[in-house]
């Protein structure tokens, strides 16, 4: 089964984000970039499916050349191939533009793909848009926020997380599935994998090579402001015997916060 895994390079979740209000972008200097955590679940699931059913796993990303590092990580985890769609723009926050690039790439290069795996959102833009948009552009069924996936040759069943429960969704292949935490436990890359990944060539295709019209490549999102939230003020602190502090806490919740 040929599987595509779509991945994104994002700042480590432990990073403090600084913004440049003039440029309306985040300051990348000093940040440690990683494979977006939800994409890691998608990668792991692809590898497990390949181990069970055979086939090929290709990791695909959109970005500048720095993005090659996370594609190498995918190769080191066990992806057979990787591909970078080279985009000259910084983050556009425009999910449709990204989805158009990916859908065009699938049409052009991977018409036989059976499963398109994504993380449920990137950690950063937090859009949760691209999987559903790619599915729509390619006319495929989608299941988002998946915590369990079972596949047969031409169909699958997934458990999708919703508020207070799960939806069991049946779908035919090919399909788009986006991964949620809980789907699996991603493996660490092995030294052998890392060495092999270094030797693999990662093809780079420019966005102009995907046959899209100029208006499809123009972002529809205009960023008017980017700022860091005002810091919260620390409030009161208390310590002492639990009988006393718990009573003060209850009193605060009742009289001041007015939630109890």
């Amino acid at each position: 089964m040929d599987i595509l895994v779509f991945v994104k390079r994002v700042p480590d979740t432990e990073s403090k984000i600084r913004v440049d209000p003039e440029r309306k972008g985040i300051i990348e200097e000093g940040l440690n970039f990683i494979l977006s955590p939800y994409d890691e679940y998608a990668m792991e699931e692809a590898l497990r499916i390949r181990e069970a059913r055979g086939g090929k796993v290709t990791a695909i990303s959109v970005g500048k050349e720095e993005t090659l590092a996370i594609l190498r990580k995918c190769l080191a985890m066990g992806a057979d191939e990787a591909l970078l769609i080279k985009d000259p723009l910084d983050e556009t926050y425009d999910g449709l533009r990204t989805a158009r690039l990916l859908a065009a790439c699938v049409r052009q290069r991977f018409p036989g793909a059976r499963l398109l795996l994504f993380g449920k959102q990137s950690v950063g833009a937090d859009n949760s848009q691209v999987p559903a948009m790619v599915a729509e552009l390619l006319g495929l069924p989608q299941v988002n926020v998946v915590v369990k996936l079972e596949l047969e040759a031409d169909r699958g069943v997934a458990l999708r997380e919703i508020e207070g429960g799960l939806e069991k969704v049946a779908f035919p292949l090919p399909a788009v599935v986006s991964a949620q935490k809980g789907l699996n436990e991603p493996r660490y890359e092995t030294l052998k994998g890392i060495m092999a990944a270094k030797r693999k060539e990662i093809p780079i295709i420019p966005i102009e090579g995907l046959g899209l019209r100029a208006e499809d490549l123009a972002p529809q999102v205009i960023v008017t402001r980017l700022e860091t939230p005002p810091p919260r003020q620390a409030g009161r602190m208390t310590s002492g015997p639990p009988e006393e502090t718990a009573r003060q806490l209850a009193e605060f919740l009742h009289s001041e916060a007015k939630v109890i």
Partner: protein
């Protein structure tokens, strides 16, 4: 017209949908326009009154046998038919599981961009401007959309619900959508134990971290939750990664971002990725043994102490207050 998508559960309008409709009405008023609501499936008829009284001057009832059960593809196709016919300025969805699944699919069908998970919507020079957290709240992005209609999802628990004196008309639209092959279908909905409230929907989130010391102690938080209406139990990443509680409870950058009226943090030190997910809570209280814990820097009220001693007394105090 701004169209609000109305999500229902067990034929009841979800609170997040009323928030979405209320905001649609306010922003439409800024533009001298009206708000409308759309309900999926014929059985929604009985809900129209509630939507009129929350500001919808028109309620569209989309009728097709396939809409009885949620399917992203059928719902998106039906909404696209309505959108092309009714020509709204904007379509607002609640940023719920369903809204986040559906809005981008509709938008891609219409060829327009989406503003996700908005916490503020304003009208500036006749144009909608959307504000939303990125990096789970570590930064705040304000944006405009060039494409039209403007599609946005609005974060639950942020926008106030407003009742208004209003009357409207119900418009039944029978949509003609292709149904058949190539669809994902919900075959079953599995409720979690007792259908407990999700952390994103709760008014009060009661979270535990590494200081809970083990899975069995989350019972303490559940007992506390039982005393507080519309509350839910949350957790830090370390508690989830230790296997003490399911990941659906996780609050933070690789979990859920929450904005409840009250966030209670027990035994949570306050890693930066956790703070990102809960700092927009209206009130934060924390109980932790370590007076240097970063969680105290964002807490409105902090108790330095042993949660295992504080919680039992707190429960009794809350019982007393509720009895009064």
């Amino acid at each position: 017209m701004i169209l609000a998508y109305i999500e229902t559960r067990d034929n009841k309008v979800k609170k997040a949908s009323l928030e979405t409709l209320s905001e649609a009405r306010r922003r439409a008023a800024d533009m001298n326009a009206e708000a409308a609501a759309v309900l999926m499936g014929a059985e929604g008829e009985s809900l129209a009154g509630e939507l009129f009284s929350h500001g919808a001057t028109r309620v569209y009832l989309l009728d097709h046998p396939a809409l009885a059960r949620y399917s992203t593809q059928d719902y998106a196709a039906s909404l696209a038919v309505l959108t092309q016919k009714a020509n709204p300025l904007a379509v607002f969805f609640p940023a719920t599981s369903m809204g986040k699944d559906l809005a981008p699919r509709l938008a891609a069908r219409l060829g327009v961009a989406v503003a996700s998970d908005c916490i503020r919507v304003e009208v500036k020079e006749g144009q909608l401007e959307f504000t939303r957290p990125i990096f789970a709240g570590k930064a705040i992005l304000t944006l405009k959309l060039k494409s039209s209609p403007q599609v946005a999802t609005l974060r639950p628990n942020v926008f106030p619900v407003e009742r208004v004196e209003a009357r409207g008309e119900m418009i039944r639209e029978t949509v003609d959508i292709p149904v058949g092959q190539g669809r994902a279908e919900v075959v079953e909905v599995v409720a979690e134990s007792g259908g407990e409230l999700d952390v994103t929907e709760a008014d009060v989130v009661i979270s535990g971290g590494r200081g809970m010391k083990g899975p069995e102690n989350f019972a303490l938080l559940r007992e506390l939750s039982a005393l507080i209406p519309r509350s839910a139990v949350g957790a830090s990443r370390s508690a989830v990664d230790s296997g003490w509680i399911g990941h659906q409870h996780q609050v933070g950058q690789t979990g859920k971002t929450v904005s409840p009226n009250l966030y209670m943090a027990f035994g949570i030190s306050g890693a930066i990725q956790h703070l990102a997910g809960m700092s927009s809570s209206k009130v934060i209280v924390a109980v932790n043994k370590d007076p240097e814990a970063p969680i105290f820097k964002v807490a409105d009220f902090g108790v330095v102490g042993d949660l295992f001693q504080v919680i039992p007394v707190l429960k009794e105090e809350i019982k007393k207050l509720r009895a009064e």
